[in-house]
Point group: C2
DNA sequence: GTCATTGCAAACGCTTTGCATCTGT
DNA sequence: ACAGATGCAAAGCGTTTGCAATGAC
């Protein structure tokens, strides 16, 4: 057992707001995007607070974090349906794909190396069929 | 074939230096790291020039680019041996792993969606066996 | 009342860019 | 000589942090 329930501290309105905004979005979002959404909802929260709330949630293992190609950090609720992205590097089209094979492989190599409490991220970049062969 | 040979422009000493340093490193490196290496080799190249050279190579499709969890961009020669990383989020230890299963899965889903010329990135985060159960 | 959290703004690290200089052809 | 590449330093962007004010318990 890895005692994961340290999450019993989200007392403030702001942290609840961030958590719920993230929840509603459902997929990966950036801190700045969440900040803008909250502000437009009238539920104004400082940008720094959004970052801090997201960090706290990440530390608690409540959210996954990864970086976009542009260097922006994006966050997603852990319990969200887990899928990967297939991105066309020409037109930007994105397809969400699921991969039991990948999940299993990740679990296996983690176990082989004695790692526990693992998450993973994977993205595939290519050129989709609607884009011309000659760029 | 996708006519990839647009790479006929690397006339200057600095661009050659960056390309070779990247070549010698063989795995993902950051621009700043390359800059430090070049400087220590006496082959001083401006940091901005390193960035520009890497951008040019990426535009030509000669290198793959991705972002570390800390937001740093890392570059790798396309032809390099391809493996993934298993990262301990507690002590930072990194294990390089190879995964035929993942490669095949990536190829398959890409094909299923009509994508071509694909690359992928994957990283697994967990806690390694040398780190205490209770953080 | 006490202590953690907020918010603002300044600091920070990585990357990009403007501009004068230099290099290769 | 000219076009493009270089280097420096400043700007840019997302993120983090210091500190006084605020809010929760």
């Amino acid at each position: 057992m890895t005692a994961p329930e340290t999450s019993t501290r989200r007392p403030t309105r702001q942290q609840v707001a961030v958590a719920e905004a993230l929840d509603e979005h459902g997929d990966f979002t950036s801190a700045q995007d969440l900040h803008a959404v909250l502000r437009s909802q009238g539920n104004s929260v400082g940008l720094a607070t959004v970052y801090r709330a997201l960090q706290a949630m990440a530390a608690d293992g409540e959210v996954d974090v990864l970086r976009t190609a542009e260097g922006e950090a994006v966050y997603r609720r852990c319990s969200s349906s887990h899928h990967h992205h297939l991105v066309c590097r020409n037109c930007g089209r994105t397809v969400e794909v699921e991969g039991p094979a990948v999940e299993k492989w990740a679990t296996r190599v983690s176990a082989e190396h004695g790692f526990r409490d693992v998450t993973h991220q994977m993205e595939i970049f290519g050129v989709c069929m609607k884009c011309p062969t000659d760029d």
